[in-house]
Amino acid sequence: MNGLLRIALKLLLNDKGKFATLVIGITFSVFLMMQMTSMFSGILYQSAANIVNVGARMWVMDPAVQTPQNSIPMPNYVLDSVRSIPGVKFAVPFYVGAGLVKLNDGTYQSATIIGLDDASLFGRPTIISGSIMDIYQNNAFIMVKDANYAKLGSPKIGTSFEINDHRAVVVALAHTPVPGLFGLPTLYTTYNRATQDLPSTRYLISYILVQPKSTQNIAAIEQQVKQLGYLALTDQQFITRNDRFYEFQTGMGTNILIMTLISFLVGLSIAGETFYMFVLDNLEHFGALKAIGAKSGELIQMIVFQSLVVGFLGFGFGVLLSSTMIAIAKLKIANYAAMVTYENLFLAFIMVLIISAFSSYIGIRKVIRIDPFDVFRG
């Protein structure tokens, strides 16, 4: 390493108090930012669980629908109209709704009921025990074995309970990639049974799942559906729509955004303040270096280096700490929704760079103005 940077590093490391304050301050700030954004990412990800789990390329819905949790039923003619749009390979009805399950011990539990198109079973989950074909048996339901499985008394194949006063029998257990956000058990059945057994409005179809013939047809399908007075979205667009809803139309998004900003400002002020003190403490030394013959650019290098060192260390420790915390929380809490994404890491990294840049800036301003004559005069 360049000798001057080595000196800079020694000046920093040997000031143990300030060094620790700087690293801990940035670590703490990164930790908080990562917690906030990871939690939010987890919430967004899990709130879009149905979209991912069903895996349809396109979804047709009422234009007022914002999230997959709240569907607005559509009349049957829409399905026929969608099917006749050129470029549509196939379109199937899809039901999502809530059912009230009465367990054998007499207690109640709400559950998400998903109804798959009877003919194709499009959007079916991965079966882990039993057979998908048993879904056609009387009163058959397939239970998703996830964190909320135990809420229905951990049913086995053959277990029965009542859903909305109709008998229901578990015929298979299934797995879905993304757990839901709302802590509800999930039961799959056929579209027909779901719409018969659950009290519903005049219209029945929650969503129409569409497979376009090719990606090129998507825009035209969206256009055609729009003319029907409905909304067609690709799965990605639907996920984005769901994200936007949580980000901007619930208190959650703005609050988490504000908390993230506050964590950033806390880190910025702790690091900025401490770094400023550090530079002030070393000001006469920087002045002596200047008098001896260090160029301004070299002093700037030293300061930038010092601030980057604490920034990177704080970033590393902060990410490590929050990842560990999230990993532990996920082990302990079944429904814990948090995930560290590259976007979150990138955001935290940018914020750390801003903290380092700000700290350097106030340090550099000071150091540039040192007059070596003042050092000389004592």
Partner: protein, 230 residues
Amino acid sequence: MILTATKISKSFGEATNQTYALREVSFAVDFGEMLYIVGPSGSGKTTLLSIISGILRPDDGDVVVKDVDIWKLGSDALAGFRLQTIGFVFQDYHLFPRLTTLENVAIPLILRREPWDKSLTEARKTLQVVGLAEKENLPPYKLSGGEQKRVAIARAIVAQPDLLIFDEPTASLDGDTGRKIVAFVKEHILNAQRAIIIVTHDSRIYEYATRIIRMEDGRIVPGTGADHEK
């Protein structure tokens, strides 16, 4: 001549409370000299020292060091000039408390982009010259005042500068230590390839000067500096 200063003037402050620290000061220093600049406090000694060493820009006049008119240099070139040519012993040392004594001494070499290990090896040799070899790993504040002064001297000479500048080298030292240090400098550090300029008002060390310039009120007292003065 290693250094020629011609008609140096410097004032501080504006209009009404302007003070003239230096008025047309001219003098020259030759290789092998240990020149003292003496005079009462406020007479302009430190100001003069700063100007001839490239730290403080004069209002007027030229300073030529080893054929370079230093105040015609840009700021980076001037910093380079100080680094290559001048060794400073500041009045209050300005040693780095968070570096070891050895690292402190090595700084001018590190600033000259010498490799780290070579810089420390040279610094170690120089610490031996000033008799502090066994203190190299201590931070400077663990040393006595006289030892710190010697560390500052070691740092000033480690890069073999042509011109050594001392401001009040005996201030804050007891008389005996001060004298010993100046005697040491004259015996071991002064040679025919360099010059040493010492600012002091400590008459107890005048005996070591090869020449003394006396200043008063921003001017060199006429007739001084022409010869040895005791």
